[in-house]
């Protein structure tokens, strides 16, 4: 297998879609804030550009390694990330505050985000090694633990959004790997039973968000403020948008978390319905390309790993946008390549890198 073959098999459409979305993301971040040229160097935009630099470096690093090698060392990666999460928890306990970050001097990383990638690698390895057609509940004890331990730890941080994504991605891989229908029903039943217990463990603000979502009429200015402001921002964009850097909701700080959770609202007010359709279209292309890669793969590890990567991106996109327009309760989930945040950017880029990696080597394992 030569380098030229790799380049020939490289999925340029997927790659350039990501580049275009990233570019739009930077533009949008620039339009989210009012600042003069003195503050530019210190702004979110500059930091995010720096993060893009780092994450594209990570991307090429991942592409250059055969994904099978990644799967081979999956358990080590999983172990290291789990260890980092525990460190964050202990550190948080000592400083008596919510702590999701580990400081690396210049940057801080968020190990719970990295868990998304670590988990799909670990599950892909487990199911590749297990080689079964269908799994009973008893066969799934280990994958269950592999999923639920980080989910609980991350929820404890507390980072409900990340915890949910990890859980959903894990469930999707288990489902794809093959679970007996009876087992699935039993598992679903148990999940239903567990729901009230989980509800009891939620923080008050988390409960409020869900209650507000279920009863929008009751939403007072206090707790429902975020979602109302977000809907106003999206709606105010109308067809063509208010224009670049003219999104009053974000510029005047009505919009909370305008660079992260509600970044889509920031975008929608500036660029309107047309802009939103273009952006959603771009994500659609991205996801369809990813889907095609996964669908065409002929090997189980590639299939599972690829779908994991695909659904990280898909879930991020769908949940973030749905939340911003009031279709889902508010949970902290980033919009891929759009939301400000270094670690989540690296995770999404890594997911793309895994897809590119699989598509690039699709012929390598065919003739075996």
């Amino acid at each position: 297998m030569k380098l030229s073959d790799n380049i020939k098999n490289f999925d340029f459409i997927l790659f350039f879609t990501v580049i275009i979305i990233s570019f739009l993301g930077i533009v949008n971040l620039f339009g989210s804030e009012s600042f003069n040229h003195h503050e530019l160097l210190n702004s979110y935009v500059m930091k995010q550009i720096l993060w893009f630099g780092i994450s594209y470096f990570v991307m090429f690093a991942i592409i250059s390694i055969d994904y099978n090698t990644l799967i081979d060392i999956a358990y080590y990666i999983y172990g290291i990330v789990l260890f980092l999460i525990i460190i964050v928890l202990i550190k948080g306990k000592i400083s008596h505050g919510a702590s999701r970050w580990i400081s690396l001097g210049l940057f801080t990383i968020q190990p719970s985000e990295l868990m998304k990638i670590a988990l799909i690698l670990a599950l892909a390895k487990y199911f590749t090694d297990a080689k079964k057609n269908y799994y009973k509940l008893t066969d799934l004890m280990i994958p269950f633990l592999v999923i639920i331990i980080p989910v609980l730890l991350i929820a404890k941080e507390p980072d409900l959004g990340t915890s949910l994504i990890v859980f959903f991605v894990g469930c999707i891989i288990v489902y794809l790997a093959g679970i007996k229908r009876v087992s699935m029903i039993i598992a679903f039943f148990f999940a239903m039973v567990a729901l009230p217990v989980i509800w009891g463990h939620l923080k008050t603000y988390q409960k409020n968000r869900i209650l507000i979502f279920l009863h929008p009429a009751k939403a007072s200015l206090g707790a429902g403020y975020n979602i109302i402001q977000s809907e106003i921002a999206v709606g105010a964009g109308r067809i063509l948008g208010d224009g670049f850097r003219r999104g009053s909701q974000s510029i005047l700080n009505f919009l909370p978390a305008k660079q992260t959770d509600f970044i889509f609202s920031t975008y929608a007010q500036q660029f309107g319905f047309i802009g939103s359709l273009i952006l959603i279209g771009l994500y659609f292309i991205l996801i369809i390309r990813g889907f095609k890669i996964v669908y065409n793969t002929k090997r189980l590890p590639a299939f599972l790993l690829g779908s994991g990567a695909l659904f990280i991106i898909t879930l991020h996109t769908v949940i973030n946008i749905a939340m911003a327009i009031g279709l889902l309760p508010v949970v902290g989930v980033p919009l891929p390549f759009f939301s400000y945040g270094g670690t989540s950017l690296i995770v999404d880029i890594s997911a793309v890198a895994i897809l590119l990696n699989i598509s690039m080597r699709r012929y390598k394992y065919q003739s075996g």
């Binding site: 489902y175 200015l221 206090g222 402001q229 999206v234 709606g235 005047l252 929608a268 659904f311 327009i325």
Partner: protein
Amino acid sequence: MSSAFNENGILNNQRKRLNFIALIFSVICLLIIARIFFLQIINGNYYYYLAKNNATRIIYLPAPRGYILSNTGKIIVDNESSFNIAVTIAHVKSLKRELHLIASIFHKKYSRLYKIVKKEEFIPDYDSIVLIRNLSIKNLSIFEVNKLYLPGFFIEKIPIRHYKYGDMGAQIFGYVGLVSSKQLKEKKYSYLNPSDIVGETGLEYYYQKYLHGKDGEKRVVVNSFGKNEGKIVVEKPKMGDNVYTTLNLTLEKLAYKLMKNKEGAVIAMNPNNGKILAMISTPSFNPVYFSKGISTKEWSKIINNNEHPLQNKAVQNSMAPGSTFKIVGALAGLETHLITPNKKIFAGPTFKLGNAVFYNWNPNQDSKINLYTALEESVDTYFYSIAVRLHISQIAYYAHLLGFGKKTGIDLPAENPGFIPTRKLVYKVYHRRWYKGSTLSSIIGQSYVSVTPIQLIEAYSAIANGGYLYRPYIVSKIVSSSGRIVKQVKSRLIRRIKLKKSYCEAIKKGLYEVVNGKHGTAANGRIRGISFCGKTGTAQIISKTYSIYNAKYIPRKDRDNAWFVGFAPMNHPKIAIVILEMHAKFLGAHAAVVAKKIVEKYLEQKGMWKPSLKKRKKNNNKNLPSFIYTSF
């Protein structure tokens, strides 16, 4: 290449499942587009209108800070109200005319007021701008009279910090100030709003998290659809937690009274648990200047004072301990069996080491003496003859055992760890070689040795109570405004120093002689009926010995630092005390008098001591004319 999974049939099943999930997501995707269509196209104009008239303003309501209280719950620091004149531009009829009126009745320059308003041009119209701070009561009533002509202007009442005892212990309680933009960026201050005040030093800083409370929010919705319907949502501020200190107000006041005009520090501590009974540092400043907004003149006066009023000398300043350090030498000598308490050693007026000559402070010293006398009369040459047979690391070992050279961990910011020299450390820090002579100076608390008052009192307490080294602490509990105990602080034993009981008793006896012996250096600290133990110390600032120490002839900055550390009573100590007088007019003996007065007061409070009959009589007859008194 063999692949683990080549049976296409199985992958086909999996593809089916993938299709199923893809279908679900496609449906969600359609829902999203439909929802965006609904928001932006169908209801777009409605939301556009809302956004353009979005008049939701968040106004932060600062939470009153928690109080700082004494051990018996007496308030030391609380809040009082300050009145500002503020303006809401949206309600003003004619800004120019009204500003002119304000300027004329409060004797301010119109141009300055106008500048303040213009500077805040970018804030939304419904936010208020503070024009004049700290109105006097007189100006307050003037404003009320003219209120009719000033629509849009109003009085804003805000809590500011009130320090009941002013200068007393200002460095311990600390001061507060408006949060800076730099602090706002720090993670630990993430709960602060730009208009909040924040503890800058002392307890205000150390317990900021508890004292601050939770700010409230006022969300004002000015417009609704078509109608002008004012709607206000208020989240009430929650007052900060009250911090109960271990300080005994009577002692604190007395200590400050005694030290007011000097430069130095006093700490009184319960030697059996590390509770700080009193702590002051002088000269002091009035922290209220900081909460009211300090003037440049006041600030430069404080900052340019070379006696450093802002520094808490009790914990932030380390210096040579002088002879008070001799307990370390005594302990080292005893533990290494170089001396026994009763063995007499010759101590002359000088001690020769090679070509160097080390002097005793008292040139008349020339006899064989035991440890008790050595401590009583603070004989340097006795300790030189111990030091000459010790390695500096041995002295450092015993110093470290007693807690020197390390932060005590007291709950006050910026504690100084002091410095206990070893060969390695001196090379690392000062890039100097170690000479044996320095070992000799070290044992009498000179050369590189540097300690803080809090370390000294900690060490002496450990000697007093038989070897229990306690962490000193100043806050005993934190109670929320609703009365719930948020934090209960217990005394913490740092370590049990394994001292031979007889050695400990010997050192204590020596310290007893210092105060109560015939030639004791702190003889004027004697307390009738109480076995007061202690040690004086004189730390030279410049290496020059004066035949007669007369402050008149020595420039102030070159004067010696005077120490006294002690505890009482000898056997079941109730109080430990340290006095530091920097650049003192009189030396350790005088510091002992200050200590004596504080100890007396405390023991009197505890019912262990009574002022003499004569004194009591004098007090009783204080108000009588003097001729009656003399006729007794």
